[in-house]
């Protein structure tokens, strides 16, 4: 909330400077967000004398003036104000001055053929009032060439304080002054809340509360005052200036008084034009009526909202906003002033439902001092009488205030326990007393009574905060947190470690890590197996951020598309992050997912003198996946690789990695052409997905010692074989058969050639393998080698139906 320094001084007797006040506010928990200094802003405007003003030769509405601004020479200025006349004293801006009301910097210029080197200014141009009818008129005896804020006594410094939601008591200047006084920065000036004598019975009787049993009822106590025969109209300058300085528009005296009390004491009021009330005024809940509010909008009210109504319907949405029908105008003669206390939760609820943000709601939902209901009404009455005259009638009061009346058992040791700071009992008592708390009793535990304006204070820790913010947190001694008595065990859990290793392994293969949104469009979610109703946001921020992602691929592919549109068609990206299969905690899983597009292979993308650009293939994705598995301690060759492609994959160029049909670890493949075109990518695109949660937790090892290294002294020998098999035969089957042919002698089997062609036969392929034999205890004879070769051929032919190529 905003207030001016002079306004603060209405409530606080202090010699402190603006800087001291600003510093103190922040250090006691009323954070200053900004300080605007009107005097500083206006200091380059000076008082000046219009020595002559003559008709502009080329423009009816302009005058050519010679201005004395105290510089010793006359300045030519063209001015369009109707009151620019010879002899006038006004306010002048030299060329180069920033004009806040117009948001321009005035330059030297030429207006319709006449030189103009500055500007004579209106009050609106200086943003000191809305008056833009003409330039400012100063008295004839005003000095010339003096800084205008010095001359006019403008010393308004506007302080903007951010009030935390617990501090309803500080939503008025009075409450802020009370906190500053408690800190010791001055003395709180008491407000005269004493009853104003009445001149007769109130024409509007106390408002009946018409609520059915069990209905929500926002009103607690309603205090109204009928004031007869007032003279309303624009409020005095000091009041207008005060409101304008904090960004409020002056309306008329009565309305300005309600705003003054709301901002000044944190006590919202509402004023009705009593002559516009028809029939009986009551408090009740709305029943679906529409309501024309003072913000010129129409709201539909429901049964949870309390209104002040007459025979024709709602006059005011209680505690939130008044209505147009009974609004106070310049012509209002009889006014009915309301000061009521409300249930903060129900006001908050009504505010949320209607979306109305008003000064009244802001204060009432944070709770307003219940002890101020009738005093607030008296204060408002006094101000109306002072500024508008009129005769006050008897107060019309109904309902009861709710006082929390909190008492806290407060062990004095609590401050030391929670802060580490020793504060004496005397000091604690003094601080609390200054803040309005009453500490009684003796001994280690005292009784503390909480003042009516601090409903946020309910327990011991709250009192510690009050003590600490007055002592200053900077005075709490810094103390090291004791170190643990042992070397830290492993910090990261298995899954945390897997994420870290997966990231580093993929980056080491040349992929760049992206972090993409957890929510994607419904269309993309559905394309990747998501789109469940429980994973759709009810209030998404954008239409392409509605569904929790079922896969990291849509985010990466969208990223690839953006990169392609920026001229980078070759990208290698990965993300390690959460996907959502349900809205339960266990439905959130961690995936490592990567893509490569166009020519972004492991050796880098695009043309290079060493080799032609290679389009990425499914084996690039398989290699990325293998690298992550390897980093996590799993050997891809020991896992099952099956031709069950992912839903996003090209059906013939993709596969699945699993421990068994029930434990699926991930997928790799070329992206399906329909998805490539969905993302407008040029292609090819390959991808892999690995479910980091699916890998089983490593077994606990009884020992860290590695198995003994066995090195044979005998030379290994190798033999090549080529088989012609059906094209559908998987390489893995050939390898498995060859490796199984002789488990003791066969050390390794690799595939070194695969080809198809007319000479191999239609629907056939040739696969060449190299089998390495490792003798165990003696060199192998030719016959023994032949025998193993025979076993290999037999095993492969049996397993695959193929034949050895002659």
């Amino acid at each position: 909330m905003k207030f001016t320094f002079s306004w603060l001084k209405e409530h606080l007797e202090t010699a402190a400077s603006v800087d001291e006040v600003v510093e103190t506010l922040t250090m006691i928990g009323l954070e200053v967000e900004g300080v605007a200094d009107a005097a500083a802003r206006l200091k380059s405007f000076v008082t000046a004398h219009v020595v002559s003003a003559e008709q502009h030769p080329n423009a009816d509405k302009l005058r050519v003036c010679k201005v004395d601004a105290g510089t010793g020479e006359l300045i030519d200025v063209v001015c369009g104000a109707p009151n620019a006349r010879t002899g006038l004293k006004s306010v002048f801006a030299f060329a180069g001055t920033y004009i806040p009301g117009k948001d321009i910097t005035i330059g030297k210029g030429n207006i319709r053929g006449q030189v103009s080197n500055g500007m004579l200014c209106s009050a609106a141009e200086l943003e000191i009032s809305n008056d833009h009818e003409g330039i400012i008129e100063l008295p004839d005896d005003a000095p010339i060439g003096v800084s205008y804020p010095d001359y006019a006594g403008i010393d308004e410094v506007v302080i903007d304080v951010s009030i935390t939601p617990n501090r309803g008591d500080a939503t008025g200047v009075y409450g802020i002054a009370r906190d500053l006084a408690a800190f010791g920065l001055g003395t709180l000036k008491q407000t005269d809340f004493s009853p104003v004598p009445s001149k007769g019975p109130s024409p509007i009787p106390p408002l009946p509360h018409r609520f059915a049993e069990g209905e929500p009822k926002a009103i607690r106590k309603f205090a109204g005052r009928y004031i007869k025969g007032i003279g309303n109209g624009p409020s005095p300058d000091w009041l207008q200036q005060r409101l304008r300085a904090v960004g409020l528009r002056p309306i008329n005296t009565v309305v300005d008084i309600t705003n003054l009390v709301s901002l000044g004491w944190g006590r919202p009021l509402h004023a009705y034009d009593a002559d516009k009330v028809e029939g009986e005024m009551v408090l009740r809940n709305a029943h679906g009526e529409t309501f024309d509010a003072l913000d010129n909008r129409i709201y539909t009210l429901d049964e949870s909202m309390t209104v002040i109504a007459d025979d024709k319907g709602p006059l005011c949405l209680g505690g939130v906003m008044g209505g147009i029908r009974s609004g106070v105008t310049d012509e209002t003669i009889n006014v009915f002033m309301e000061c009521a206390s409300w249930d903060p939760d129900l006001i908050a609820q009504t505010g949320r439902k209607t979306g109305i943000i008003s000064d009244a709601r802001y204060r009432l939902e944070r709770s307003v001092d219940p002890a101020l209901t009738e005093p607030g009404m008296e204060l408002a009455t006094r101000l109306v009488l002072e500024l508008c005259g009129g005769e006050p009638m008897e107060p019309a009061i109904s309902g009861e205030d709710v006082f929390p009346d909190t008492k806290i058992e407060f062990p004095l040791s609590e401050t030391r326990r929670l802060t580490g700071l020793d504060v004496s009992a005397e000091r604690i008592g003094e601080i609390l007393a200054r803040l309005g708390f009453e500490m009684t009793g003796t001994g280690a535990t005292r009784h503390v009574k909480v003042p009516s304006w601090r409903p946020d204070v309910t327990q011991k820790a709250d009192l510690v905060e009050e003590v600490m913010r007055m002592v200053g947190i900077d005075n709490v001694p810094v103390e090291p947190l004791p170190r643990l008595a042992h070397v830290a065990p492993r910090i990261l859990t298995t899954i945390q470690n897997r994420r870290r290793l997966a990231r580093r392994a993929l980056a080491a293969r040349g992929l760049g890590e992206a972090i993409t949104w957890s929510f994607i469009s419904a269309d993309l979610a559905e394309s990747f197996g998501g789109g469940k109703p429980e994973l759709k946001l009810a209030n998404a921020i954008a239409s392409d951020m509605t569904d929790m992602r079922p896969s990291l691929l849509p985010g990466l592919l969208s990223g690839a598309m953006r990169n392609q549109n920026r001229g980078h068609a070759d990208v290698a990206l990965f993300e390690v992050g959460q996907v959502f299969l349900s809205d339960l905690p266990e439905g959130q899983r961690t995936y490592a997912t990567g893509i490569r597009t166009a020519t972004a292979g492991i050796n880098g993308a695009g043309r290079h003198w060493q080799e032609k650009p290679q389009p990425v293939s499914v084996f690039d994705a398989k290699a990325d996946l293998a690298a992550v598995l390897d980093a996590l301690g799993a050997d891809i060759e020991k896992l099952q690789i099956v031709a069950e492609p992912a839903s996003w994959s090209h059906p013939g160029r993709g596969g699945r990695i699993q421990l068994g049909p029930k434990v699926i670890l991930g997928w790799f493949g070329e992206l399906h052409p329909s998805l490539i075109s969905k993302f407008d990518l040029d292609g090819p695109v390959v991808a892999f997905e690995l479910d980091l949660d699916a890998l089983p937790e490593p077994r606990k090892k009884p020992t860290r010692s590695k198995p003994a290294l066995e090195i044979s002294q005998l030379m290994a020998v190798s033999r090549d074989f080529a088989f012609v098999v059906d094209e559908s035969v998987e390489a893995a089957a050939i390898l498995r058969a060859a490796r199984g042919a002789d488990k003791t002698l066969i050390g390794d089997v690799t595939i070194f050639d695969v080809f198809t062609g007319a000479h191999v036969g239609e629907g056939k392929k040739s696969v060449a393998i190299e089998v390495t034999l490792q003798p165990r205890d003696k060199t192998l004879t030719d016959e023994e080698i032949e025998a193993v070769g025979g076993k290999v051929v037999a095993a492969v032919e049996k397993a695959t139906g193929g034949v050895l190529r002659g």
Binding site: G29, E31, T164, P165, D345, A348, R352, R366, L418, T419, L421, Q459, A461, D462, V464, E465, M468, R469, V476, V478, E479, P480, L481, R483, A488, I491, T493, Q496, R500, R504, L506, A507, A508, R509, G510, L511, E513, A514, I515, T516, P533, E534, K536, N539, I541, M548, G559, N563, V571, A572, L573, F580, D583, P585, E586, G587, Q588, N603, G604, D693
Partner: protein
């Protein structure tokens, strides 16, 4: 007798003139081959009288040996010359550029890197890493954290909600990492339902909780998804003096500066009491914000003593157990440390941004090797 001198001179010249191995071989054959001139002379020795042989033999053999040596020397010379010539022809332009190594091309996202940095620092102080789900219940995100129903503080969170389920309750995207505090403290008999979920810990508790958080808000400094890290200490004695130490030490280590001044201001969070906001000393005079210098302040985190209601909600006795918690934006401290201007670029997957602001795969943040290189 025949004078050997002219033959010797002629052969020597022929050897010297031979500029290929083939020409040299032809010279060898012409002299030492079966029909060679020296071979022919040697053949005459057999028909000579012993006296004559004694006189001429050494001269002829001497010539043979001399020519043989000369041919061999010339052969070696020619070989050396040929190798030199071949090597000269095999010269490559060693300034031709390489493909970048895969590890030189790959990048770690700054958020992941900063989480590793945070982990390195807090693991030294004895903290573990705890995690909870992104999709939360109202209970964990608000109620257990002492946000009263309908309180304005709830509304300030700009929460993303899901549609109400069959039981009428609606789930939400966590607005902060604080629900993990409750999950860590709350005693249950059931094991966590997923591997990433941290099992409840008995006090003393020292955990940091990094993760994704969400608020329905978007402008230059706010994105609807962002990252937070929360810290929690629960035992029987930890207080604000120690909280100050932990935060000062962390910020000093994280920003890798000799010293850093902090300013603690009283504030309000429903789940801490007393609550504080912390400003860090900085210098804004240049193009970048320098932490740990100058006389300006920059708000960097919120903290406080865990609210007794929160301790109670987690099933512990607030008169026995106490402690502190803090929370800060990971993206924000990453932006401050590494001078990254725009938060929105964090989640755009722009290759140029990742290449520029990302970290190399072997830039491993550790305390022993340094957080950043």
């Amino acid at each position: 007798m025949t004078d050997l001198a002219p033959m010797s001179a002629s052969l020597k010249k022929a050897i010297a003139d031979a500029d290929t191995q083939a020409a040299l071989e032809a010279v060898r054959v012409s002299a030492l081959g079966k029909k060679g001139s020296i071979s022919a002379l040697l053949a005459t020795l057999g028909q000579m009288s012993p006296e004559e042989r004694k006189e001429k033999g050494p001269a002829i053999n001497g010539l043979k040996n001399e020519i043989t040596v000369l041919i061999e020397a010339r052969r070696a010379e020619l070989e050396a010359y040929a190798l030199e010539k071949r090597l000269a022809a095999e010269k490559v332009d060693i300034t031709l550029p390489l493909r970048p190594a895969p590890a030189a091309a790959g990048r770690i996202h700054p958020v992941s890197q900063v989480i590793d940095e945070i982990t390195a620092i807090f693991s030294d102080m004895g903290f573990a890493i705890a995690e909870g789900p992104d999709i939360e219940t109202d209970y964990y995100n608000f109620t257990a954290l002492n946000f009263p129903e309908g309180h304005p503080a709830r509304e300030m969170h700009d929460t993303f909600f899901f549609s109400p389920g069959a039981d009428g309750t609606r789930k939400l995207l966590r607005t902060h990492t604080s629900p993990v505090q409750i999950r860590v403290m709350q005693k249950t008999n059931e094991p966590p339902s997923a591997a990433y979920l941290t099992a409840p810990i008995d006090p003393p508790i020292r955990v940091v909780m990094p993760g994704r958080t969400y608020r329905n808000d978007s402008d230059q400094t706010h994105t609807p998804m962002f990252h937070q890290v929360e810290g929690l200490v629960i035992d029987k004695s930890s207080h604000i003096g120690q909280l100050r130490w932990v935060l000062e030490e962390f910020l000093k280590a994280f920003f890798e500066v000799e010293s850093v001044k902090l300013r603690f201001r009283p504030s309000f969070f429903p789940f801490t009491e007393p609550s504080m906001e912390v400003d860090v000393q900085c210098d804004r005079s240049g193009n970048e914000v320098k932490i740990g210098q100058g006389s300006d302040w920059l708000e960097i985190l919120g903290c406080g003593m865990v609210h007794p209601n929160v301790i109670r909600n987690a099933g512990l006795d607030p008169d026995v157990y106490q402690g502190f918690a803090w929370g800060m934006g990971i993206d924000r401290i990453a932006m401050l440390k590494y001078g990254m201007p725009d938060l929105r670029a964090f989640f755009d997957a722009d290759k140029r941004w990742i290449d520029h602001y990302g970290f190399r795969p072997f830039d491993l943040p550790t305390l022993f090797g340094g957080l950043s290189s």
